[in-house]
Symmetry: C2
Subunit: 216 residues, 2 copies
């Protein structure tokens, strides 16, 4: 996967956090991680520092690293920012998409339709990710795409929880449909608005999130 041990560790631990293997609040013991991955403490420390810089891990001086627990309110704030960035990506994509972008977006959208109508929420989860990444790419802003991917990744666990809510997959796909239409029609403002609404968790969706978080 990666060249050096540190990158590998960073990815492994990050995945562990994303996949809830390391739950929020869990202590990340250096020697424990080191023995687990068969390396010394040094690369483990370096990986933890990187995760700290990203904001996934908190390092309390002399007291070790713990997985950050954002809490419902902060998760909401993160979705709020994500919505804004996705909106921007959508509006830029509506103005800038190429033939290749169009093909990629439509392909991902078609896959979403399949997994949605099949009622396969796990498959939909992955197709949905491809769909959104296709839009980031369509924005033709490398920096924006990176920011979106990073934030998307951090929100991954909560997004996943959301899809478990009843009918969310079907609703999500319907929203995709309108988004694709707006983008391909070149309607930047409409694409922005729809994507913002699609991503943000307002009203009852926030309640659903809190409820699902509590019952983990």
């Amino acid at each position: 996967m990666s060249e050096n041990v540190v990158q590998r560790l960073r990815d492994e631990i990050e995945n562990g956090i994303i996949s809830n293997d390391f739950a929020p609040g869990a202590r990340l013991d250096e020697v424990q991680l080191a023995t687990r991955f068969g390396v010394s403490r040094t690369p483990v420390r370096e990986a933890l520092m990187q995760l700290n810089a990203i904001g996934l891990v908190e390092i309390r001086p002399r007291r070790g690293a713990v997985v950050i627990d954002p809490g419902p309110h902060r998760i909401f704030e993160m979705f709020e920012v994500m919505a804004e960035l996705e909106g921007l990506a959508g509006s830029l994509a509506a103005r800038r998409f190429t033939d290749a972008d169009r093909t990629t977006i439509l392909a991902a959208h078609a896959d979403c339709e399949r997994s949605s109508s099949a009622g396969n929420s796990d498959a939909y989860y992955y197709d949905n990710e491809r769909f959104h990444k296709a839009i980031y790419a369509g924005s033709h802003s490398g920096f924006l795409a990176e920011q979106c991917v990073a934030l998307h990744r951090r929100l991954q666990p909560y997004r996943r929880l959301q899809l478990r809510v009843r009918n969310r997959v079907a609703t999500s796909f319907a929203e995709h449909d309108a988004i694709v239409e707006a983008i391909l029609a070149g309607d930047a403002e409409q694409a922005r608005t729809l994507l913002r609404q699609h991503v943000s968790i307002q009203g009852e969706r926030f309640s659903d999130l809190v409820a699902t978080l509590a019952s983990r």
Copy 2:
């Protein structure tokens, strides 16, 4: 400043990059930095890894760390995202500001007026920063504020260049005035639009940036 050596180093090197002490493309030699700051290579490496995670430094495997050179296009992309985030902050602030926020914003705004009319672009630079941070705070979104501060910081050198452009300070202050009005009137959409325009570098401002970058 900070508890441990790594944080201190991270800040020092980051400041060095921001202030162009370490120019884009410059090699960051581990032993050199270590002796310079009177520490061993270990904390230097850890600091570099953090800067790598933030995106200020590129670490090429087995070939050392260099300061990333974003290039005009990427800088433009970064301002584009910054504009969006500031716009969001402004719209949230318009809806959520408290009496304390109002006081802080007005105070910073008044300082901007002073340094602007005094023609002191260095002073304006700092007052401007306070003004924008006051708006971030007014948004009452901790996550958004963090993102804004981080990006603001990364764009610091280029923002500074911009203020050197003729009349930019006066124009900037005039824009602030309208922004304050919109926020305090609770006009979220107007605040968003004005802030977006205020921050983004469209048209001739981009040409100015490129020109200034070239003649550094």
